[in-house]
């Protein structure tokens, strides 16, 4: 009867870890880069300085972990939200497929950009 068991545990675990990471780190990221710096509430460190920050291996690893898990967290929730909010549970399988595709695309994009970009 093992085959009848859902395979949700793995994406759920990623959803959970991603949920913690996004809960801890995303608010400050959005606040800084989406609101405070564009509106000049805080002093902008400037191009050179930010470029240095992006070059640090620590930054790459941190962003890699944060963004990959954020994508898996987001798409796990998006799948359930679409099914519940639009009452389309019969379409769960194609919606799930799209969401997994999205999470995989996000993961690949993150890995590629963080490794290849100079």
């Amino acid at each position: 009867m093992v085959d009848q068991r859902s395979n949700r545990p793995l994406p759920w675990l990623l959803f959970g870890i991603g949920g913690f990471l996004t809960a801890f780190f995303f608010p400050i990221h959005i606040f800084l880069y989406g609101i405070a710096l564009p509106l000049e509430w805080l002093p902008d460190p400037g191009y050179r300085s930010t470029l240095e920050l992006v070059h640090l291996p620590l930054t790459r690893i941190y962003l890699g972990v944060l963004l990959i898990l954020a994508f898996w967290h987001a798409f796990y929730r998006i799948r359930d939200t679409i099914c519940d909010a639009f009452d389309v549970r019969p379409l769960d399988v194609p919606i799930a497929a799209l969401c997994y595709a999205g999470a995989i695309a996000g993961t690949i994009a993150t890995v590629v950009i963080l490794i290849l970009v100079p």
Partner: protein, 136 residues
């Protein structure tokens, strides 16, 4: 209950409205909390675009910064910020309690399990800010 037969009236099944979450505030709050996931995915993409823009040179970085300064982007990011903070607050209210109960075998009051998370959130946010503003 006997099986439906010709002489047995059938129970009435009430249909569920597709807009069920507008019926009660707790349901709407739930849908809003779950909708934060769209904004999480959105801003993750923005961060990736940011990285690409920085690494492509000063002019593309300037173009990106100008784009982030447009009223549309500020508004969208403000909304995203509200939704993501809502995610954080509701996450701290729900998830730590489960882990505490699984490990300790008994329940703590809501705030007792949530409070350390707020402290960690504050510390980590300050740390990220210090890095981002190049104070460190």
């Amino acid at each position: 209950m006997p099986q439906y037969s010709q002489f047995q009236p059938k129970p009435y099944e009430r249909p569920m409205s597709p807009f069920w979450y507008f019926d009660r505030w707790p349901y709407l709050k739930f849908i809003l909390r779950e909708s934060s996931s769209f904004f999480v995915a959105y801003f993750a993409v923005v961060i990736l675009i940011h990285i690409c823009a920085i690494s492509s040179g000063p002019s593309s970085y300037a173009a990106f910064s100008a784009w982030m300064r447009t009223p549309t982007m500020i508004t969208v990011n403000l909304i995203a910020f509200v939704f993501v903070v809502f995610h954080t607050v509701t996450w701290f209210m729900l998830v730590p309690r489960v882990m505490v109960r699984q490990v300790m075998g008994r329940s703590l009051p809501e705030m007792a399990a949530a409070a350390p998370n707020y402290a960690v959130w504050a510390v980590l946010s300050i740390a990220v800010a210090l890095f981002a503003l190049r104070v460190i």
